[in-house]
Symmetry: C2
Subunit: 284 residues, 2 copies
């Protein structure tokens, strides 16, 4: 049997429930993190906690992220989870029925749920992207750099891609600039240089994107579809895929080959993850 942690209580996964009055359920009023578990160690845990805290501040949800680690450690050990995903969600908790949170929500406090999820390693087989009919939600409307529990834009984009026999959706922002995919960040290679859209394009500040920018030379760019169309190769990143080569974009019918850079950077990410697990084992 697998367990979850709900507000500090370890419960069987099948019994893990939250009140229907939780604003996470009513309005998606919260933030979450999906952290790669590698050899029993959550990769870049501190980085994820910083992004979570940033998201909570953006949503004005008072919560001390430091109290999560003991619960995460207990859950990883109890579930015997070596490799997979550690998912942490923090919501504003039980509050008013309308959009304006009760003043009392600061007393009732935020809710949190911690889960481990099995995740098979994703083989780096080249995938197809679908150019979404949707635009990414603008930074003028939401603090999109953090993982908000506002997943309908990503969900609809990914469903549309799969209906069109593609693996993943490519989203532009409202200024028609390259932004991200529905579940990952976008990279391309031109003249040997690796590019990725800059955060100012209104994309999720992805953890794998951040790791890659630490491990390799990556140039941030604010640019349009033309940059992708003239690229030598394209790949996408997230905690589950690491780096995944892209072989084409539909409905344009554009194709890319030459996935060497993607495979090289994927190796770098795997080595970094191994090193992280080694050096942080004692904490977990």
């Amino acid at each position: 049997m697998s367990y979850c942690n709900v507000n500090g209580q370890c419960v069987a996964e099948n019994d893990a429930r939250i009140p229907v009055q939780d604003r996470g359920f009513r309005f998606g009023d919260g933030v979450f993190e999906t952290i790669a578990l590698h050899q029993g160690v959550p990769y870049q845990y501190d980085w994820h906690m910083e992004r979570l805290a940033h998201g909570l501040r953006a949503l004005k949800i008072p919560f001390d992220t430091a109290l999560l680690q003991p619960h995460c450690r207990e859950l990883v050990q109890r579930n015997g989870m070596r490799d997979g995903i550690l998912r942490i969600q923090v919501t504003r908790g039980i509050g008013s029925q309308g959009y304006l949170p009760d003043p009392s929500h600061r007393l009732a406090g935020a809710s949190f749920v911690i889960e481990t999820q099995p995740a098979a390693p994703v083989s780096p087989i080249p995938v197809l992207l679908w150019q979404s009919s949707l635009r990414k939600i603008s930074t003028s409307a939401l603090p999109v750099q953090t993982k908000l529990c506002q997943g309908v834009n990503s969900t609809l984009a990914r469903m549309e891609a799969v209906e069109n026999k593609c693996f993943e959706a490519l989203l532009l922002n409202e200024r028609q600039q390259l932004c991200e995919t529905s579940s990952g960040n976008l990279f391309w290679v031109t003249g040997g240089t690796v590019y990725t859209p800059s955060l100012s394009c209104g994309l999720l500040n992805g953890s794998t994107r951040a790791s890659l920018m630490r491990l390799a030379q990556v140039t941030e760019a604010e640019t349009t579809m033309e940059a992708l169309m003239s690229a030598e190769s394209v790949f996408i990143t997230n905690v589950a895929w690491l780096a995944l080569p892209v072989c084409g974009l539909n409905p344009a019918g554009k194709t890319w080959g030459n996935h060497e850079t993607c495979h090289r950077l994927r190796q770098l990410l795997m080595m970094d993850r191994d090193a992280y697990s080694m050096s942080h084992r004692s904490e977990w």
Copy 2:
């Protein structure tokens, strides 16, 4: 004690829970309706069911809204709720951990929660608006005409308004056009004509807005802040407020008086609600 209905089961409000795996909790992946209960009758129930069905189609959530009415009727009677709010939420249900719903979610099916909530009548005392620093989420990113469980934009806008000692937030769309408030629709009067932003401005298709357009002459407009600045009077609508006069906009320091049109339309709405309750009593 008050009850909720969770997936067809009537349970005590304090015991009403949903699994943490529900995509409503994970991603706000659902839609909801708030319906005015008046004399034990949900006002404009059929209209709300049409908007709910429209939202479910937009989110590609297969669900037959016709199955809700017997549960709503049972709950209203059981809670003895005469005047208040009937809230119905339908989510995609338990699904995958990522944005892409499991193919199996069509088998597990959507989840729904029905609640009644007490709501005191809102006195038509003129209120202050705060011009939000946020823009409304664009129709290019989400089907915003329906009540998506994606409430962070509205929540942050309303919190900002209250922090600035205003009742409610005024949001422009990404084209700087008048759009709506965080919890209601916007109206203004110029030269005796009543105006409201047209649906093409990317606003919620509000039920009170729709009722007003049926009961009175209202002109839809795509326009900017200047129209509001030169208006004779301004008011806002939703199911709880009906029509609420606006006395000013901050930080601009603009003020409006002359709330006669608002009060007259409010009377029309109340009469229509009375007539609706009378003629639909037998169904409830």
